[in-house]
Structures are given as C-alpha cells and as structure tokens.
Amino acid sequence: MMKISPKTATLLVLTALVAITPFFFPSGYYYRVGALIFVNGLAVTGIVILTGYAGQISLGHAGFAGIGGYACALAPVHWGIHPALAVVLGAAISAGLAYLVGRPILRLKGYYLGVATLGFGILVSMVLNNERDLTRGPDGIEVPELGLRAVLKDWGLNLSNGEFWYYFCGLFLIVGAWIALNLHSSPAGRALRALHGSEVAARTVGIDVPRMKLQAFVISAVYASVSGSLLALQNKFITPDVAGFMHSIEMVTMAVLGGVGSVLGAIFGAGILTLLPQVLTVFAEYEQMVLGLVMVLVMIFLREGLLPSILRRLRGRGE
C-alpha cells in the first residue's frame, strides 16, 4: 500500500470536510458560517507561513485584508475593472506594499517587529477611515457583485448565494493550503524554518535571511489580501473595520489557538474562533471572557496549539 504523506493527508481531510459537512447542514445559514471559516482560514494560513514557518510576528495583517477588500469595492467603480481582476489587483498592491514596508520592518525582531507591523495596520485603517472622498469613510461602501454565480447558473449549476460562497471560499482555502504545504517542504520552506530556529545558524549555512523573511511576509500579505477580497465580495459591503486592529489580533489568535506550526491546526483555530461567537450568542455578554479563558488555557496546557497537541495525545495513546 502506498504511504500517504502528511501533505496529501492534510489536503484530503480538508477537501473531505469542505465537501461532506454540507450534507449535515440543517439550514442555509450554516453555509454562511462555513464560508466565513474558510475566509478566516485562508488569512490564517498566511499567518502560518509568516509566523509558523519563519517565526516572524505581524500584528498588522488586517491592513492587507483591508487593501484586498477595498480593491474589490473601488477598482470596479473607478476604473471599470471586473471584480475578479480587482482581487488580483488588490493582491498585487498588497504584495508591493508588503515588499516596500517589509524591507525596513523585517530588520526588527520580536516585539519591535510586532509594533512596526501594528503601525502599518493602523495606518491603512486610518487612510480607509479618513479618505472619505475615495472610501466613503467609516460608514463603509458597497462592493459590486462578482457575477460568477450567474455564469454558473447559465451552465446549469444553480447554487444559492450561501452555497456558492461556501464552495468558492472552500476552493480558495484548499488551494491556499496546498500552496502553503508545498512551501513547507520546499527549499524555501526549509530555509524559513531554519531561520526560525536560529538566524545566525541559517546565515552560516548560506541562507539569505532578510530575503527569505521578506518573501514570507509578501506571501502572507497576499493570503490576507485575498481573504479580505473574498469577504468583501461575499458581503457586498465593506467598512474600514476589516483593516482594524482587532481583526489583525483575531488572525494571530486563530493561528496560535489552533497551532501556528500546522496549516490544518491553524484552520481548525479559525473554525473554532468563528464558530464560538455563534454558539455563545445565548450569553453574548460573556463571549470575550470565554474567548480569553480558552486562549489562556490553551497557552498554558497546549502550547503548540489545540490540534497538534490533541493529535500528539491521540497518537501517544495509540502506541
């Protein structure tokens, strides 16, 4: 029997989850929650590359999500670009900005890096809030329809809005995870993990540390940007909140909670933190408290994150 590599296994599990769970959905609302999990999962996969692989911290990734989201809102209206191309444009702008900003910022380490990226995120959010003539300010702006659902309908595939976004975002997540997993075992991925372990040691074996860090930063920025675009297109409305500080923190929290070193773990974290507020509506007032408590407990008892720790326990018991 052929041995299945961890990469294939992860992709299989993800695909199975995306494809099978809808059979258990009691109503259309669950497609919406699923799509949100996938969008967050995509952004968090970018965090895995930056933080899990390369060991760099960013507290400003929502800034890139904001750029991706507003690209979809503004480019079609101002330049007549198709919303699908606007996703690419947003990703390109995010990559370019990440490259420019990342060069000086990534020379910083630890919490200095965290604060510098935080500053970047806040800047983006301020621009979106204050450039009222362009972005319509804090009240937000409408995003044009992607139109893909209508095309699919012409081809005979009639999906509801919720179903469409569920499968569409699911597809993006699987592709995103596939790229991240490929990166993991590629030379570039090994270099990233090496510099995570020790920058000095990585340098002595000939790794161009600043360049590799910059690469990881740019790639993860593209992930965040695409997730922002998907969110905007799905909601057909976007406000500067998408670039807000809380959204940045949310991304990091999801990754760390689920397990920042593993793609599946981080997506699992995104799933839990997206589901919790929906489950906790009964005691909405305590939602933040429960989230905080879960976070503290995970950090104390399951330091690698939920999924890797659980898997290790399960494996340990099996042997």
Binding site: T21, G28, Q278
Partner: protein, 380 residues
C-alpha cells in the same frame, strides 16, 4: 484524524442549532449592544426586550404570541451579515428590526432584500432607503431633514449668512455635506465652513475665524459626542453673541451637562418629542406614546430614556402594527402593510410610508428646541 474532526465539527453544529425554538410569530433583531456603538445599541436591545413582553402581556398580535430573536453584532458589519443570515435562514423570522449603525444596516439589508424579508433599520444614513429598496424601511430621520429644520428656523428669523463648524467624524461630515446641499433652498449662504477633529479639546481658532466672517448672522455645529459641548463652551468663552444652533446628534440631557448650563443657554437644536413629553400639548398624538414609553423604560432599566431606544420602539411598533393590519405573518404581507403605514405615531414622529418613501417622516417630526436655564423649551 478525519473522524475526530468531523465529529467535533458536527458537535459544534448541533450546538448551533439547539438555540432555535418553536414560536408563533418570530421577529428578529441584530443590534450593536456591545462594541463602539453600544451607547446606541444597548438602549435599543433593552427597548426591544421590554416591548416583546409588553406585546405578549397585551395578548400578542392577532391572538398569537410573539417571540423576539435578538443578537448582538458588536457593531461589526460582517457579524451583522452573519446574524441576518441566521435570522432569515435558521430562525426563520418574519421581519427584522435592527442595524444600529449605517454599516451594519447596509450589511443586513443586502441579506433581507435577497431573502425578501422586511427589515426596519435603526440607522441614520439616507443611503439605506434611497434609492428605495422594496423590503427596507427605517425609523430615524435623516441628517438632511435636520438641516432643513434648522434652516427653516433661521429663515423665519431672517438670517441669510451663516457659519458652519463641523466634526470630521461620520455624523459630522455627513451632516455638513447634507446641509451644504440644501442651504440654498432657504436663501441662506454659508459664509464660513470650518471643521474640527472629534478628539480636539479646543476649537477657539476655528470659532474666531467664523466670527470674523463678513456679515455672519448665526452659527451651526453639525457634530456628535463630546465635540459639540466643547464648541459650545468655547463659543461662550469667546463671548460670541450670534445665535447658535446644534444638531439632533446632541439632543440629550448629557449635552447640557457637558457643555454647562451657562454655556448652553440659548442654544437651539432640532429634537424629537421623546425629549420633552411634559412640554407637548395635550392634544398631541405623540404625547401618550412618549409618556408611556419613557415611564416604562425608566421603570424597567433605571436609566434615562434616549432618542436611540426610541428608534427601536418605533421600529417594533411599525412591524407589529403592519402584522396586525395585514392579518398575516407572511413576510410579503408584512412588507406590503409596512409600506401602507399611515399616521402611526411613534416617539420619533408620525410615520406615513409610501412606495417612494420608506422613512415616512416629515419635518414635523423634529421640534425646534431651545435650552433655557439648563432645560429644554419649545420654540414655536
């Protein structure tokens, strides 16, 4: 591994479904009871919770019990959209009241328009109902109407040259634009137009500039939060004698307190009936409604009643009144009845909707008030 994950996911999904309960008439709400807009959303949530009890105590609607499904979106438009989807798809409500902020309202309405469920928004922006969307209605009057009310009063007093000092926050900027748009209808000219950041602690520079504008006869301050109280204090400190107008954004007792009784003396602003139940004439149709709401709300929560809770009050009554008149709890029938609402008195004004007007208020919803000795007085 696959199995573990699937079971976990299913467990969570089951927990999600468990909150749905059986009911006769289900009305949904998503308001921002927490987060940055909590000062608006919290009274709205409390009002809705109070009103559903009241409605059921009075025998429900058409003999059927009403259930309120209330979610807190924390002011996050993304969450608001999720909750709107949940209300429509999972809880299967027949109408939604809510959307505390413009952003959350815009998110909710794109869901409700798709699902063809009537939605009564509690947010200010005119974009929500213009262009008219078949299933979207709203209760608060618009900035534009506040501008018109103020300019109407200025016109009556014979002013033709006025100065504007506006906050740069969402409220201030939007009202500034609307005021500039309608000012010429009243034969008034804006001779000074200054702005301040809502976090500024001193606006004397801008006010000095305004005072020196040639021929200026009155000043208007579109703003929200603490900015207008600082402007009012600076206005007094500079000894400016020109008549001073504030917006409906500060129509609360808190404003007089912050600005100080002395500085606030003589300030005029458009407010609604809820601020002055005891000043209303005995024949006023709004009088019994605002008096009853004020008494009930204050008894229940121990907090002073405010304009925003009043929006939720009106939203609830618009929907329940529509269900009563329609004699049916079908979303389409409720929508048709909502659009046919005529002469329904609420706390904000008297609503008469039509196919072209999904707000249904006119300028009479605003009362021109003047602050005298730290109290509201009606200007006739």
């Amino acid at each position: 591994m696959k199995k573990t994950l699937t079971t976990t996911a299913l467990g969570l999904l089951a927990a999600l479904g468990a909150t749905a309960a059986m009911a006769d008439i289900k009305i949904g709400a998503s308001v921002s009871a927490t987060g940055p807009a909590a000062f608006l959303g919290d009274p709205e949530a409390k009002t809705l919770e109070m009103l559903v009890e009241e409605t059921n105590a009075a025998g429900g609607i058409n003999g059927e019990k009403v259930v309120l499904v209330l979610y807190d979106d924390g002011g996050d438009p993304n969450k608001a959209r999720t909750f709107a989807t949940r209300l429509v798809e999972d809880d299967e409500v027949v109408a939604i009241v809510g959307g505390t902020t413009t952003g959350t309202s815009m998110s909710i309405l794109s869901v409700t328009e798709d699902a063809e469920v009537p939605f009564v928004s509690l947010a200010g922006a005119i974009d929500i109902i213009q262009p008219v969307k078949p299933f979207t209605f709203k209760t608060p009057h618009t900035d534009r109407m506040a501008c018109q009310k103020i300019f109407e009063d200025m016109q009556k007093r014979g002013f033709t040259k006025v100065g504007l000092i506006s906050g740069t926050d969402g409220f201030g900027a939007s009202m500034q634009a609307q005021c500039k748009d309608v000012v010429s209808d009243y034969g008034i000219e804006i001779v000074a137009d200054e702005t301040y950041d809502p976090k500024d602690s001193d606006m004397t520079a801008q006010l000095t500039k305004i005072r020196n504008a040639e021929g200026i006869q009155a000043v208007l301050n579109p703003g929200f939060g603490q900015g207008p109280s600082i402007v009012t204090r600076n206005y007094k400190q500079l000894g400016i004698e020109l008549p001073f107008y504030q917006s409906h954004g500060v129509a609360s007792a808190g404003f007089i307190e912050l600005a100080g009784v002395e500085a606030a003396e003589g300030v005029r602003l458009p407010g609604n009936a809820l601020l002055i139940p005891e000043l209303l004439a005995d024949g006023d149709v709004q009088k019994p409604i605002v008096t009853a709401y004020k008494a009930a709300y204050e008894a229940k929560t121990g907090q002073p009643v405010g304009t925003f809770g009043g929006y939720a009050h009106d939203g609830w009554h618009l929907v329940t009144d529509a269900i009563k008149r329609a004699g049916s709890a079908e979303p389409q029938a409720i929508r048709d009845a909502l659009e046919a609402t005529s002469g329904l008195a609420g706390t904000t004004g008297i609503y008469s909707m039509s196919a072209e007007d999904h707000l249904g208020l006119d300028l009479s919803a605003f009362r021109m008030l003047e602050i005298r000795d730290g109290k509201w007085a009606l200007v006739e």
